[in-house]
């Protein structure tokens, strides 16, 4: 089963996918005007381009004032006390291991007395002891690291590895989040600032904070006007923005700092759809934290094994949470009593996942495999306490391995591992970022769009490939939370452009029994070939 072959060939080079209409993706030249009715729908959504050159990289890397002062030599015990205060036990050990030249000062005074030699001896002993301890610690941590290779990565590489952005380290846009209720979104940029764009207002607040470094993820609080959680290097920042304020630089006093020892870097965040709790996860910490943001209390959900948590997704109905780990296992938590079901995967760690709107189906992908799996869950009612209710096995619903398309402009090879995946709020369109194979040169990162149907049976149909400007690789994808006429997919491109691609379709009220087709009659032959479903439970 090679399902990408059922897709229509990608648009010719130079064309940009503009919108979906009539079940087909329409592409055109970049400077082409959209048809009026289409234009009217997405007019108020801000389209922007943030080229990398305009962003100033942060000037200071050190965040302490130490380098600004002249180095002053102190006694060993004083340095140890300072190190203890700054770093803790590890700092003292480090200081002791590097202690030297303590004797030089004394030697100049002439005859070394017995106290001096005793001191020397003690220092030597301490030095040797702390060196041994440090070596032991390093050995243990390297052993730990050999079980979980990701732990030996420096933290920036770790964020880049697990971030939903394709090229987190190099692209100007690092994270993106739509507000769950209004036309407002936040983008985190390469220079560690965050900009908030609102369709209805011209003010663009720019958020900067001392602790806001290496932003990996953003999340707006549901059922709230303007609270934004930011996953930073060392903490979670929660910005309280006043939606009526005209200020473009909210002070850092508007941000709450949620930090917990051992919980950094934070790479994933998820708000409960009821708006009460915030989950944060770090690939280094085996526990995920449940925050009650208003009171800054947190509860650790400790579950050893797996080596950390890399990706969180809260189901839209609020009943379950997917937590992926860096090793070949992921968990699905049930949120009433916080018990979990463990899912070992065969090939590798779970890369990304998304929930159907009613929380009854989870689609996920695994690193090292180019397929999409589906996992169905029992209908949630409060009666099964402490049970997640997942089915026994996951089924493969789509195979995205590499396929060659013969187009007028030459051969194109598309397919590979899935990097990230989003499902629109109505459960009708699925956008998948397929990361091309690095080894073959002409295989590129591309977005494939599927049409999906969730009830009465789950079905997956091909829709088409999305293409941006020349040389632009998709970086992040996200669906608009409340678009009336269908769905709007927002794509952040590697050029720094953020564009919105509307999909027009009509869907019945939930539960929908009508097929998610465009209002117009399909154009006969063109679409009939494509109606063949990739996957159907029937």
């Amino acid at each position: 089963m090679c399902s990408l072959a059922l897709f229509p060939p990608p648009p010719p080079p130079g064309d940009i996918t503009l919108y979906e209409y009539n079940n087909a993706l329409v592409s055109g030249r970049g400077n082409e005007k959209l048809p009026r009715p289409v234009q009217a729908q997405v007019e108020d959504l801000p389209t922007l381009t943030i080229p990398k050159e305009t962003l100033k990289a942060h000037s200071r890397l050190e965040h302490s004032a130490k380098p600004a002062f002249v180095h002053h030599r102190e006694m060993l015990w004083k340095r140890c006390i300072n190190a203890w205060r700054d770093v803790g036990v590890a700092g003292v050990l480090e200081e002791l291991a590097n202690a030297e030249g303590e004797g030089d000062l004394n030697q100049e005074l002439g005859e070394p007395s017995w106290t001096d030699s005793a001191k020397q001896l003690a220092v030597q002993w301490l030095k040797a002891g702390s060196r041994c301890t440090l070596a032991l610690c390093r050995w243990v941590s390297s052993l730990h690291g050999s079980f979980f290779p990701h732990l030996s990565l420096p933290s920036e590489d770790m964020i880049a590895e697990f971030s939903p952005a394709v090229d987190w380290a190099g692209c100007s846009i690092r994270a993106f989040a739509w507000h769950p209720h209004t036309s407002k979104f936040a983008v985190a940029l390469l220079d560690d600032s965050i900009r908030v764009y609102n369709a209805k207002s011209a003010t663009i607040p720019i958020l900067k904070h001392r602790l806001q470094r290496n932003v990996a993820s953003l999340a707006w609080k549901p059922l709230c006007a303007s609270i934004l959680a930011v996953a930073c290097h060392s903490c979670v920042l929660v910005w309280h923005l006043d939606p009526t304020s005209l200020s473009t630089r909210p002070s850092s006093g508007c941000a709450q700092v949620l930090s917990h020892p051992g919980h950094c870097p934070v790479t994933s965040l998820a708000w409960a759809p009821s708006g009460r709790l915030l989950l944060s996860a770090s690939p280094v910490d085996t526990a995920m934290l449940v925050w009650d943001v208003s009171t800054e209390n947190c509860v650790q959900l400790q579950w050893f094994g797996g080596g950390g948590v890399t990706y969180l997704a809260w189901s839209p109905d609020g009943s379950k949470v997917l937590a992926a780990t860096p090793s070949a296992v992921f968990r699905v938590w049930e949120v009433q009593t916080w018990t979990c079901e463990k899912w070992p995967t065969i090939k590798g760690p779970c890369r990304t996942g998304c929930w159907s709107p009613d929380g009854s189906r989870l689609l996920f992908t695994v690193q090292g495999e180019s397929v999409i799996y589906s996992l169905s869950f029992l209908e949630y009612s409060g009666e099964l306490q402490g049970q997640v209710g997942g089915s026994k096995t996951a089924s493969v619903v789509a195979d995205l391995s590499e396929t060659t398309f013969e187009t007028l402009y030459g051969e194109e090879r598309i397919g590979g591992e899935v990097h990230s995946m989003v499902w629109d709020p109505r459960g009708e369109r699925l956008a998948v970022v397929i990361r091309g194979n690095y080894s073959s040169s002409n295989c590129r990162t591309i977005i494939a769009v599927f049409r999906t149907r969730n009830s009465p049976v789950f079905e997956l149909l091909p829709c088409g490939f999305l293409q941006g400007e020349d040389g632009a690789q998709p970086q992040l994808v996200s669906f608009h939370p409340c678009f009336k006429k269908g769905a709007v997919l927002t794509v952040c491109w590697s050029t720094g452009k953020v564009s919105h691609i509307p999909f027009f379709f009509v869907s019945g009220p939930f539960p929908s029994f009508s097929s998610p087709q465009s209002p117009l009659v399909p154009l006969g032959s063109q679409s009939s070939a494509r109606e063949q479903p990739l996957f159907s439970e029937l």
Binding site: H179, H181, T182, L223, C224, A225, S226, P243, T244, Q256, S274, G275, R276, L277, V290, D292, V293, S294, T295, E296, N297, V299, Q300, Q302, S319, V335, Q336, T337, W338, T339, S381, G382, E383, G386
Partner: protein, 676 residues
């Protein structure tokens, strides 16, 4: 006692009794483990590890260890009984130092301390016996050769044993004081539901760490105390038991005697053992008692009527029962569609939505009470230090609403009687009152017409319309503030401290005399102000009486967990009713719910704008004693906003058809546009 109350007492005893029993059983079960750890650590011998392990295992089976275990089980039992008896879901927060002192010397607390000291001594005796070595007996044969000729050797005092016993008593007393000062009797409900084992496991490392650190500090303090006062108990014991002092040994109340490393280590270990076992008992009780309880919504049998959720909510049960019921309401509204259906259902003969009426009425009553309380707190904060007369006169001159007087008199509940309620504009009261009573009276009649203008909502709307009550608060004379000595609304009502009778008397007097303002009253007033200002200049008095503003705010919000659950339960139910409520029972109460929520929102907003009110929660340190009651007001603010948003996002544009006052309508529009 009414039958309902008796039934509830029974229910409470049933629920809490089982939980307490289970927690005691577990802590007694864990005691041998702690003891084994204690024995093995106290006889630690790194150079002969095998010998050490075997000997400590052998020690476990000896008769005196088993006797100690029995004794300590009894101690644990008594400690648990105190935990159960002293527990509270609403913490009592002393607003000034004097209140704290009065709490410490309260007879109840004295008994608590004394019993804990005795229990601590028992624990220390057990520890001393299990440690063996030089700690084993109180009296030992003298080593000094004073009387070699005698057949009967003199018995000497073993001061090490005495030291440990006194340390145990000291620890017990300190534990009791900590219990009081850190409000350890407060039962915080966890933010997420989890299995008990997981909660216990999560708290265990912190518990062990804190016990170690605390024990260290307590041993230090005890050493200092023993250095100065150690000779008193020693002399007493020696005289009463006719013992001698071994002249060869150092007395322990000297620096050299106290610097005995083995003594310090064993006392520290004894302290750790005591604290860990007691904290485990306390933790288990806390975990068991805050577990969610499942109340039935509809009784399956007739005799269960008093145990189902609406009944419990509506009567006035013991507070922990009410908390559990509200927590259950929150869970059912959020997670269980089946139980929500039961709430929305109609009664079988008659077709009345009794369940929904009871639930919503209780939630609204709670929220309205909170609104009233907050308004009064704000008034108290705003009127500090000014003469109370003007606003009273204003009130008398302007009898605005015709029904106001009657309603006002009916509102004079005994609890509110002493409050400076004259400063609350009457219109707020009446509108609140109408809200408060309306769901009860008008519900049945308004069933048919969901969004039509019911008389109730009209009335409420009209009253609200004509009452921009915040205007009066912003009037200039209220902004005047001066030195304050005793005025906080909160301790007028709650803290039964020493200074309590005086301010209430003063307020009552002022309000009485305000009817005929005379020269005499004015003179009295000025005298009183003079006395106040005179007293407030005395440093010592100020030290004891000065109010910690943060504490008095915390006291206002001390029971707010209840309101948070009511808000969440209500809003989830209303949101679910959009699709699940077949008979439209929720729609009839929607206007009053919205009114209540929006009024509360205004009041809470105003509260956070008061001076001395921090807008951010204080940093919580990793402390075993939960301080979540200090941050409840922030949780309330967040969940109130979320609750309103939950209703507005679910109903959307339909809310425009609901009858609310224009003021509230404006507010609702802002919520609909996500601009709050």
């Amino acid at each position: 006692m009414s039958p309902v109350a008796r039934e509830q007492q029974l229910l409470l005893r049933q629920i809490l009794g089982w939980r307490a029993a289970a927690s005691i059983a577990w802590s007694v079960f864990l005691l041998p483990l702690c003891t084994a750890a204690f024995i093995s650590i106290s006889t630690i011998d790194l150079f002969h590890p095998i010998q050490w392990i075997t000997s400590s295992f052998n020690d476990l089976y000896t008769s005196y260890v088993i006797f100690c275990l029995l004794l300590m089980s009894m101690v644990i039992l008594i400690i648990s009984i105190f935990n159960v008896e002293f527990h509270a879901v609403v913490p009592s927060i002393p607003c000034s130092r004097l209140a704290l002192i009065s709490k410490v010397i309260h007879p109840q607390q004295v008994i608590h301390s004394v019993v804990h000291a005795v229990m601590g001594m028992l624990m220390a005796w057990c520890a001393a016996v299990m440690t063996k070595g030089k700690f084993l007996f109180l009296s030992i044969p003298c080593t000094a050769s004073e009387s070699p000729a005698d057949d009967v050797p003199y018995m000497c005092l073993n001061e090490y044993h005495l030291f440990l016993l006194l340390l145990g008593a000291f620890m017990g007393y300190s534990y009791s004081l900590r219990y009081l000062v850190h409000n350890m009797n407060y039962l915080p409900f966890p933010i997420i539901q989890q299995y008990k084992y997981l909660r216990f496991r999560r708290a265990l490392p912190l518990l062990a760490k804190q016990s170690c650190v605390e024990s260290l500090y307590m041993v230090r303090n005890f050493c200092a105390a023993y250095y100065f006062f150690g000779y008193i108990p020693r002399a007493w014991i020696i005289t009463t038991m006719n013992l001698h002092i071994d002249s060869k040994l150092h007395p322990l109340d000297t620096v050299a005697g106290l610097l005995d490393l083995s003594l310090l280590y064993h006392s520290w270990l004894c302290g750790v053992f005591l604290l860990i076992t007691w904290y485990i008992t306390w933790l288990l009780f806390r975990i068991y008692s805050t577990e969610a309880h499942h109340f039935p919504v509809q009784p399956t049998f007739a005799e269960e009527t008093d145990r189902c959720l609406p009944k419990i909510l509506n009567s006035n049960p013991p507070s922990i029962l009410k908390f559990l019921a509200l927590q259950d309401l929150m869970f059912l509204s959020q997670y269980s569609s089946v139980r929500r259906q039961e709430v929305f259902s109609l009664s079988q003969p008659g077709g009345h939505p009794h369940n929904w009426t009871a639930v919503s009425r209780e939630c609204l009553n709670l929220l309205n009470d909170l609104t009233l309380k907050l308004i009064m707190h704000q008034e108290a904060a705003a009127t500090n230090g000014r003469l109370k007369q003007p606003s009273v006169e204003d009130l008398r001159k302007a009898p605005n609403a015709p029904g106001a007087a009657a309603e006002e008199s009916s509102l004079q509940t005994p609890r509110a009687g002493i409050l400076p309620r004259a400063h609350m504009p009457s219109l707020v009261k009446s509108s609140l009152l109408s809200l408060k009573t309306s769901p009860v009276t008008d519900l049945g009649s308004n069933l048919g017409s969901p969004f039509s203008s019911s008389p109730l909502s009209n009335k409420a709307g009209m009253l609200e319309l004509s009452s921009p009550w915040h205007g009066s608060v912003q009037s200039p004379h209220i902004m005047r503030r001066g030195p304050k000595l005793w005025t906080s609304y909160s301790d007028l009502q709650w803290t039964d401290s020493l200074q309590e009778p005086r301010p209430s008397f003063a307020v009552a007097k002022v309000t009485n005399e305000a009817v005929q303002p005379s020269f005499l009253s004015l003179w009295l007033q000025s005298k009183k102000e003079q006395i106040k200002s005179f007293l407030s200049k005395r440093v010592l008095i100020m030290y004891f009486f000065s109010k910690h503003s943060e504490a008095s705010i915390q006291a206002v919000f001390s029971d707010t967990q209840m309101h948070i659950w009511a808000l969440e339960g209500l809003s989830h139910l209303v949101a679910a009713s959009f699709t699940e409520d077949k008979y439209g029972v929720v729609q009839t109460t929607l206007p009053s719910i919205l009114n209540t929520l929006l009024t509360l929102q205004e009041v809470v907003d105003k509260h956070f704008k008061l001076p001395h009110v921090s807008s951010k929660p204080p940093r919580t340190s990793g402390n075993l004693a939960d301080t979540s009651y200090k941050t409840l007001r922030f949780a309330l603010r967040a969940s109130l906003k979320t609750a309103i948003y939950r209703i507005t996002t679910t109903f959307g544009e339909h809310l425009n058809a609901v009858q609310v006052s224009t003021e509230h309508n404006k507010r609702l529009q802002q919520f609909l546009e996500f601009k709050e």
